[in-house]
Symmetry: C2
Subunit: 197 residues, 2 copies
Amino acid sequence: MEHFTQQVDFILELDRLKAVYRKTTVRDDNNRHENSAEHSWHIALLAQVLSEYAEHDIDLNRVVTMLLIHDIVEIDAGDMFAFAQQQDHEIQEQKELAAAERIFGLLPETQKAIYLSLWLEFEQATSHDAQFAKAIDRVLPVFQNMNNQGGSWLKHGVTKTQVIKRNEYMKTSGPKLWQYVLEQIDIATQKGWLKDE
Amino acid sequence: MEHFTQQVDFILELDRLKAVYRKTTVRDDNNRHENSAEHSWHIALLAQVLSEYAEHDIDLNRVVTMLLIHDIVEIDAGDMFAFAQQQDHEIQEQKELAAAERIFGLLPETQKAIYLSLWLEFEQATSHDAQFAKAIDRVLPVFQNMNNQGGSWLKHGVTKTQVIKRNEYMKTSGPKLWQYVLEQIDIATQKGWLKDE
């Protein structure tokens, strides 16, 4: 029974990811901020829909699970804006590691080990699965901001160079998508949605 | 290129599910209403965490995909409260079928066919995969309402009989979970969170 109680505790804890808000906004809901739970749902489907563009053989089911769990650590660590300072990213990494230990640690030992290992693989981007998952996670805001007159890019003065750097996983893991992303970045820069510096 | 544009259009359309609100509320976010996108994320993980309780052999990846897509039709049809009148459910079914045709129809033909077929399988609950997916979809509000002093049950005067009927897929697809759900329903009734009639 303890085994099952642990599983229920984990599931209830997940509810809190619905209260972690990102910089991107939901155009069709009065531009309220998007939360990390609904974002995770969106990218899980994005990975499925765009899987044909993966350059390497990937296990799509592992990719989907990585994407479903990758933001859970934000329950403790909060969401960090993608274009924050490098130093802040390093502090964030420590917080997220502790969060992963605590939150996946709510589960029975075997499940904890599986999720923690998958989460680390994503973070460290050490496999083709993780690299494609990261590329997918990062490309969604490109679609969203292009569809929303510049969205969070414009609001926070993001530069073309930052978005290119942020999406570089795609260059090797999904080169056909990369071409498209570069074109979108050019359009966004021409429109003044991204700073050209 | 049209193939890819169709895929992007579908992905952008999905954003609208984040604006479809359910009766359940998010306890840790000032009890605001939960939307169907974040709900779909939550149950996809619930299915993974509780997969050991499936009575029959299931393909967990199909179950997860069913759960990720099953609510997309609400973009057009809206969310219907689980305990609405039978007549309303029948009208809703027609709306949802039209919505599935339109929304999955944004995708290239092959992908449309795959998703539409999976969505229908879930709706009709004709396979073990779909039956377990339905059981998972329906059990999450039990956890949420128990964790939230009766939540949407109490607010909308839901009866014990209604919740038992709503969760009956679990009796055959996850009998061990069914026992737990029955216990929770008894507790909720004693506490006055569910009407006993």
